[in-house]
């Protein structure tokens, strides 16, 4: 994905496709086919614009007709009412599309999943009625005989083909640039696991806003050119459901999340439906929609990710799934046993009177504690004691009802997770949140974005972090193919790549076999020996007693006890609340 050779291959492919398309366009002299040669690139651009937002981030937009229609109407109204040439009108439309992206994106990105998709549908529908009400039912672009080229009107239809292909090439190049940059990788991270992306230091809202603005501009450009080509704009044809549907259909059919997808989808579906429409449209009026409908149903059922991925998987089929060998865990740099009494440390994290309630349940109640710089602090407590909620408050996933959290002198309450991550607090999750379809290296590279400027630096930091946890040999494997232990190590590496001063680990030992636990403990100790402060939630008491310098015991959201592990496990109230009689029995025997 990152190699230069791939880049050149993609660039060559783009220009070869463009040249062949224009070449064929020059030969074709039937006006109907010429129109088709123009429409395919236009719809491909709309598909690319949809793909840019929805394909990469996974937030399905049903409303790309909003941008397309605004672009078409900007060009049309500029020409009809103000005599502004489409040469300026299309860029103007792109500005309108970008602004629409801001206006639509900012409130709508607060929503997820189906709410996002449905809300996106509402925008073009509302615009459709508004434009009808404004009296723009049917606006035709006037012929400008005195200066046709100035008004983008050409007797030779092949000029339009060249224009459409030009726009397509620009869109493909933009998509290619995004795919190969941290922009694209950040969007894919959002698609695969938004909370993990946010915790890894990615400002998810900022990237999504950039994506929708760019997407809006491209869709508006497609709409503007569509108006110029069709010479007639109606609210239904540009804001209608079929337009929004077309954007996602060409992308889905061809392949989601790749720049080739919309191109493939458009090249197959547009000629198919236009031919049907032309030959049968007057006899069977809805045939185009039926064909599209069946096309999407078949895609979802047979090739949910689109033709491109299906074919690619098939082509790459002979390659074995397993990539590389599992590395033995790197030897720890210093395996110092925890000292009996923690030395006087500077507090790095100070939590004061932190509380969080869900409805009537007080998940965290008035918790106050400090974490010393460089220590390993264990947080223990029964299920439902509020341990994970406490972490979610510390790294900004949840706002507390009251209290304060100060990290290295800075107040954290009110900051978003990605800001907190950049300040130096890393996090791993109880259930590993991997970006399953990215490689191990890419997963970790995303964690390095917060601390690095260039891609090379990010890759270097990620490689170092992988070495630190002993996963170097698995760098090329897909995250989805890792074992549980490797996943936990990968998540740890992802957190380390951001060079955190403080690492919050939520049950890092869950689901590991006993020898795997030993390996993980070694890695954590090595981290602490390098000066990283570690706060661990864990149930595996035997391991924790050996690992942590200090315990904090939570029960019903409140801090029950704090102290040296050796003392804590003897504390009667702790035994009653958490460890239970079994522990007491073991202790009596031991």
């Amino acid at each position: 994905m990152r190699s230069r050779r791939n880049l050149y291959a993609s660039l060559i492919a783009i220009f070869v496709i463009a040249a062949v398309w224009i070449g064929l366009g020059l030969v074709v002299n039937n006006s109907y086919y010429q129109l088709m040669f123009t429409l395919v690139p236009i719809w491909a651009v709309l598909g690319l614009s949809w793909n840019l937002l929805s394909g990469y981030t996974g937030l399905v937009s049903f409303g790309h007709a909003a941008f397309f229609g605004l672009g078409a109407y900007t060009v049309t109204i500029a020409l009809v009412q103000y005599d502004i040439t489409p040469w300026l009108g299309i860029p103007l439309g792109m500005i309108v599309g970008t602004l629409a992206g801001v206006v639509i994106g900012y409130p709508t990105f607060r929503l997820r999943g189906h709410y996002f998709a449905l809300s996106m549908l509402a925008y073009p529908m509302a615009l459709l009625y508004v434009f009808v009400w404004l009296g723009y039912q049917e606006v035709s672009l006037p012929m400008k005989r005195e200066a046709p080229a100035y008004f983008m009107q050409f007797a030779d239809y092949r000029v339009y083909i060249a224009l459409a292909v030009g726009l397509l090439v620009v869109s493909l190049l933009i998509s290619l640039a995004i795919e190969r940059s941290r922009f694209g990788l950040s969007l894919v991270a959002i698609k695969q696991n938004e909370p993990a992306a946010e915790a890894a230091g990615i400002d998810t809202l900022a990237w999504k806003m950039r994506a929708i603005m760019l997407s809006g501009a491209l869709a508006a450009a497609a709409g503007g050119l569509y108006a110029v080509v069709q010479l007639l704009v109606t609210p239904d044809s540009v804001f209608g459901m079929l337009t929004s549907a077309q954007a996602l259909i060409v992308a889905l059919f061809g392949g989601v999340g790749t720049l080739w997808g919309p191109l493939i989808g458009s090249a197959i579906l547009i000629p198919l439906s236009e031919t049907l429409q032309a030959n049968l449209g007057d006899k069977i009026p809805g045939i185009q929609g039926v064909v599209y409908g069946i096309a999407i149903i078949l895609v979802v059922v047979l090739a949910p990710e689109g033709i491109f991925w299906r074919v690619r998987d098939w082509v790459r089929r002979p390659r074995a799934v397993g990539l590389g060998q599992v590395d033995p865990i790197a030897p720890p740099l210093a395996a110092a046993a925890p000292e009996p009494v923690p030395p006087q440390r500077q507090p790095i994290l100070i939590v004061a009177n932190l509380s969080k309630s869900f409805g009537g349940l007080r998940a965290v109640a008035d918790a106050s504690f400090a974490v010393g710089d460089g220590e390993i602090l264990g947080i223990i407590g029964p299920n439902g004691a509020g341990k994970t909620t406490l972490f979610n408050l510390l790294n900004g996933f949840l706002p507390p009802n009251s209290g304060s959290v100060t990290f290295a002198g800075r107040e954290l309450i009110g900051l978003k997770p990605n800001r907190i991550c950049r300040l130096g607090i890393g996090r791993t999750f109880q259930v590993v949140r991997a970006f399953a379809r990215l490689s191990v290296l890419d997963n970790v590279v995303i964690g390095a974005y917060g601390k690095t400027v260039s891609e090379a630096e990010a890759v270097a930091a990620a490689t170092a972090a992988l070495a630190q946890v002993g996963l170097t040999g698995r760098a090329g494997a897909l995250a989805g193919s890792l074992t549980n232990k490797e996943l936990r190590l990968m998540e740890l590496a992802r957190a380390l790549a951001g060079e955190p001063r403080l690492l919050l680990m939520d049950e890092p030992l869950a689901g590991l076999a006993s020898h795997e636990i030993e390996d993980m403990l070694e890695v954590i100790r090595a981290l602490a020996a390098r000066g990283t402060t570690v706060v661990i939630i864990e149930h595996t008491m035997r391991a924790m007693v050996r690992l942590a310098e200090r315990f904090i015991v939570l029960d019903h959201g409140a801090i029950l006890a704090t102290g040296h592990p050796g003392e804590i496990v003897k504390d009667e109230s702790v035994i009653e609340a958490y460890l239970g009689k079994k522990w007491a029995a073991i202790r009596a025997r031991g």
């Binding site: 607060r110 449905l118 809300s119 529908m125 809805g286």
Partner: protein, 320 residues
């Protein structure tokens, strides 16, 4: 009559129209509420099933006149009620062969819980039904007119002998039928053994499996019921509103707005949500031009999902 008196009259007229239309919206929202609110399946084609309910009633009552023996006033309502079970079967089969591939246990716990393919699959179904409808039924607007459509009850207003509001008889009957069907469904879901099975399957599929419930079948039945209820509402709308194959799009947002407003997962909530949308739509005509009536609904929908996505009665929950 004073200007204020005129305003009160217009206001009451809009309010009553809102309640009547709201009751029918309520019923269609109940249908979607079962599918979206309770089962968490996104059915984008719900509006198209409403449309099929309309055409079914139309062909049964007007086209083939199979219910001639019931007379022109009763026939259309019976026709609408028959649309329910017929579309139930269609919904059941559709779920069995298509929807089940992207919903239920097979996708629980995966990325986005399968919402992505659900949206797209049902969008495809919507396109096929809309345009297939255009091919089969034609683009001419149709209506199921009853003698009641053009008659109204005149309700005098007590404060002024000259003031009165008019209640269209077709809408009053349609609203009453809606309420009766919604109440019947409420008892079916809350009291019957079938209803308990459905709720158990929706609430916790794996727990329901351990209890010996055929969850896949429960999903199919629930999906079918949701489609059938919405189809009945479609048949009722057909008695006072002309329709064409693309009409589903006008209603799909109304339905989602109502369900979200009422709080996901509550049948009664969905009904009141639909009622609220009906009132908002009718009362908005007091201040806005009629062409923007539908735009108002989209704006209201956006406001609802942004300000209070958990609905009026729901509680915000998010797990990280």
């Amino acid at each position: 009559m004073s200007q204020f008196g005129t305003f009160v009259e217009i206001f009451l007229q809009a309010l009553l129209a809102g309640i009547l239309i709201g009751a029918i919206y309520g019923l269609m929202c109940v249908g979607l509420g079962i599918i979206f609110g309770v089962m968490r399946v996104i059915n984008f084609a719900q509006g198209e099933f409403l449309m099929l309910g309309m055409y079914f009633t139309f062909y049964l009552v007007v086209g083939y006149n199979l219910l001639w023996f019931l007379g022109p006033s009763v026939g259309p309502y019976v026709g609408a009620l028959i649309a329910g079970p017929v579309l139930f079967v269609l919904g059941y089969l559709l779920h069995r062969f298509l929807i089940a591939r992207v919903t239920g246990i097979s996708v629980a716990g995966t990325e986005s819980e399968g919402h992505y393919p659900q949206l797209i699959l049902t969008l495809g179904i919507a396109l096929v039904l809309q345009n297939g409808g255009l091919i089969l039924f034609g683009s001419m607007p149709q209506s199921v007119r009853t003698p009641l459509s053009s008659r109204a009850w005149e309700v005098p207003l007590l404060y002024n002998a000259n003031a009165a509001v008019f209640l269209n008889k077709a809408r009053v009957v349609a609203a009453l039928v809606s309420v009766v069907v919604a109440v019947a469904l409420y008892f079916l879901i809350n009291r019957s053994r079938l209803g308990k099975t459905l709720r158990a399957a929706a609430d916790n599929a794996s727990a329901a499996i351990y209890m010996g419930i055929d969850v896949d079948r429960a999903y199919r039945i629930a999906f079918g019921i949701g489609i059938g209820i919405t189809a009945i509402a479609g048949g009722l709308v057909a008695t006072y509103n002309p329709f064409q194959p693309y009409i589903g799009l006008d209603f799909v947002i109304i339905m989602y707005a109502g369900v979200v407003l009422g709080g996901m997962g509550s049948i009664l909530g969905a009904f009141w949500g639909g009622m609220t949308i009906g009132l908002v739509q009718q009362l908005s005509t007091l201040v806005l031009p009629t062409q923007l009536q539908n735009a108002t609904i989209f704006v209201v929908f956006l406001l609802i999902v942004m300000v209070r996505p958990q609905g009026l009665f729901g509680r915000a929950t998010e797990r990280v």
